[in-house]
Subunit: 478 residues, 2 copies
């Protein structure tokens, strides 16, 4: 193992102290999405800055401006920047994490107070335990183990911790662009490590090298001047719902294939080495069933199902605005309806090259209907996909760290959803970005009874530290 043995020993010996630090962090209710907790969210930023300072990091609190939330004009929680080491012979690793959390009420179904860290059966329960205070504390643990033992860190470190991740990272993109400039905090960074996601399962550590993008759409159909009675108008007029449902039915097949011409064909078929990653992956159809709560996988073929999420685009129909949506029966012909759907994108798809295909197709299908209703396709928001090179030394260092600590090879995963900051770092800094998950698939981030396994916290801390040693080692190996 490349990591300094004293580092690893210290982590094992001080597990209780590390858990206490996580407990201290969890008890600060840094709920960024609720104006009532804005002060406490900002306080969490200050607490974190103080911790970093105490561990020898040069810090700065960066003002991201203001926002209007729940009718109030509020200061945004600050970005916490940190710098430790400036040795030109060492690689510089930028660490990202977020110190804000999702809301949580014990009455939502928590077994214990969400803001009191509770250890039970080797699991640490509490809001933010896995998302994302646990991983941040993991980095503090690494710093402490080195500071306490006067060990030299093998790399230069930069930190970027934000307090608005759970509500859209407001202000962060422009901020990162600014700090990437010459002479600013992120200048000279060689790679990025983000610890804000999860293993694919509960058994095998993972390295994540891809995220899907998204394009969100509404199909707006309108006709009548007001809602009509289906008795009086049924079969006299073009009903917007009839047109909309027809259009929505032409978007995706029941096997998940996207029916919009040109969307599927943009995606290159998997190479043999890529297929091998999926074949090796510690994942089964039973895992899908467990996660979804029912045996509804689109295929019985493991690789097909996992590729459906990780390397193919998907199209989901979310719902209809303006139609009858209550329980019971209402005999209405809605006058104006909007069908919502989104497409998860994979390279080389982007909102820019996908939106025109979607719009043209729906318009041509609508033209075939000879309807006198009005229709338009609205693209409301979108984001590009991201895929990193897993053969880069950044991933190689993480793989070695995982194998050293867990004695297991990682699953190489791509996530079906989005973590926009990943793409921002990759595009703005032009370096390799690694997603290095600490928690497991069943941690319940955003849900009730969120937890982080004690082993994932402690061994995960070792992985983070070892990863830094491996980055340095690979630099030496050239």
């Amino acid at each position: 193992m490349t990591a300094h043995p004293d580092f690893l020993k210290y982590v094992d010996k001080h597990a209780d102290k590390f858990v206490q630090r996580l407990a201290d962090a969890v008890q600060i209710k840094s709920i960024s999405g609720d104006a009532a907790y804005r002060e406490e969210t900002i306080a969490m930023g200050h607490w974190l800055e103080k911790q970093l300072k105490g561990l020898g990091v040069t810090t700065a609190l960066k003002d991201l401006g203001q926002q209007t939330l729940q009718g109030q004009r509020l200061d945004l929680p600050p970005a916490i920047l940190g710098k430790l080491g400036d040795d030109p012979k060492k690689r510089t690793v930028l660490i990202y994490g977020h110190y804000d959390v999702q809301p949580a009420l014990q009455s939502d179904g928590w077994a214990t107070d969400p803001f009191t860290l509770v250890e039970k059966d080797e699991k640490l329960y509490g809001r933010g335990s896995t998302d994302d205070k646990g991983p941040i504390m993991g980095w503090l643990n690494v710093l402490e183990a080195h500071q306490a033992q006067r060990l030299e860190l093998p790399v230069n470190l930069r930190f970027c911790f934000e307090g608005m991740e759970e509500t859209g990272s407001e202000g962060l993109e422009a901020f990162i662009e600014k700090e990437a400039a010459a002479g600013e905090w992120f200048n000279g960074v060689d790679c990025v490590c983000i610890s804000d996601n999860y293993w694919l399962n509960t058994r095998t550590p993972a390295l994540t090298y891809g995220l899907r993008g998204i394009a969100y759409f509404a199909i707006n159909v309108s006709g009548p001047g007001q809602d009509l009675h289906s008795g009086l108008f049924g079969r006299m007029v073009h009903e917007p719902m009839t047109d909309l449902i027809k259009l929505m039915s032409k978007l995706v097949d029941h096997d998940g294939q996207i029916l919009i011409p040109g969307i599927e064909s943009m995606v290159a078929p998997p190479t043999e080495s890529e297929i091998e990653l999926y074949t090796k992956m510690d994942y089964s159809i039973a895992d899908v069933a467990e996660a979804a709560g029912a045996s509804i996988a689109l295929s019985d073929h493991k690789e097909t199902v996992i590729m459906g999420r990780m390397r193919y685009p998907s199209l989901s129909l979310h719902g209809i605005q303006g139609a009858f949506s209550e329980p019971g029966g209402k005999t209405v012909i809605p006058s104006k309806v909007a069908g919502k759907f989104s497409i998860r994108l994979v390279p080389p798809q982007t909102p820019e090259n996908v939106v025109p295909l979607v719009t043209a197709y729906i318009e041509s299908e609508f033209a075939k209907m000879n309807s006198k209703n009005k229709m338009n396709v609205e693209h409301s928001h979108g984001g590009k996909p991201w895929v990193a090179d897993i053969n880069h030394w950044n991933f190689e260092a993480a793989r070695r760290a995982i194998e050293a600590v867990w004695n297991k090879s990682p699953d190489y995963t791509r996530e079906g959803g989005s973590i926009p900051v990943t793409l921002t770092f990759a595009e703005t800094l032009g370096v390799n970005v690694l997603l290095l998950p600490m928690g497991r698939s069943d941690d319940g981030a955003h849900s009730t009874n969120e937890k982080l396994d004690l082993s994932n916290f402690i061994e995960g801390t070792k992985v983070l530290g070892t990863y830094l040693y491996e980055v340095a080692q690979l630099a030496r190996e050239g």
Copy 2:
């Protein structure tokens, strides 16, 4: 003209008094659907009974039991029964109307207080003016004209006025069945006249001889144990919305044709004489556009459009329960969705013969999808259609009355919606039922600024009385 000339003269001379009676009726807030107005609704029943008594009618207030409304246990408004004449040589006509009204608040957009009858530009504005207090007052006017002048009525009359029509006619069906028995109030009735609908337009009186029935459905599709994130699960699982939208898209074509095998073919094509009724009808595509608020008629062919409403079944998609229905974007895969639709039925269709066809078709279409989701078709409520013989003397008498008073031949119409009491009278009493509209298509029943044209009230009163004379005349003609 067969009507007694003194009757017609009296009506013209006493128009102001008749309008005052309508004003008295309108100011009683008999809103059956609101518990706060239950006492006033019952008071309206008592007021009406007193009016009838004063006009020489033998009356009875019939208790229809109780209901629970807005958490309160309430007495139902009574049915008001009336009897005038028992001459075995005369025909006996049963008159139906309802004395309850829809809610109305000036703040909904009324130009004047809804419960104060206001005359403006020869129009009488007020809640219930056309639906259905105007027509009931029309009958009282007829009685008064005869009583005041000691004219003998040409037929025996029976009255049935209810106070729960706007909220489902609770208790009425069983009540009618009871009163149809030998020795009871409706025994010996030769025909029924219902004045609770409208002309097809604002120009030509109508006689209505048909109503569509209805069968209401929900397609329930469920799969995941809970709502899923479309990023994490998109293209891994069978999404209930994908299946539901596919199924809903297979029910009705964009031209209004129902795609469920067996439904369209049950309906006989129109005969030549029936087509003639539609050709003659005072109706145009422009009328559809005006009523619907947009030029969205399914065809430019008048007969096609009007037959779509009057003599063919229709299928409307009302909405989806359980999916995302709010403004904005949400990337959810809903776990359980219910698609609501209804079919308006025409003879010989009934819920009994239609529901099995619908269920079998949807089940077979779902089977083709090989989905692992669960699906079932739910039939929540329904009612049979009704069509009367327009060659019956009841309709012939009404036609003659309209031609005599309005100097115009009526449109023979079928309504696209349902008035359940019509079918109950037809089936229970086994006699011809006539719908004899007093108001116009633009009266705004159930809406703001409900009105009845003064001419429709006064000439309409003449039509009602003349109709009775024509019933008697046709009996004499054999």
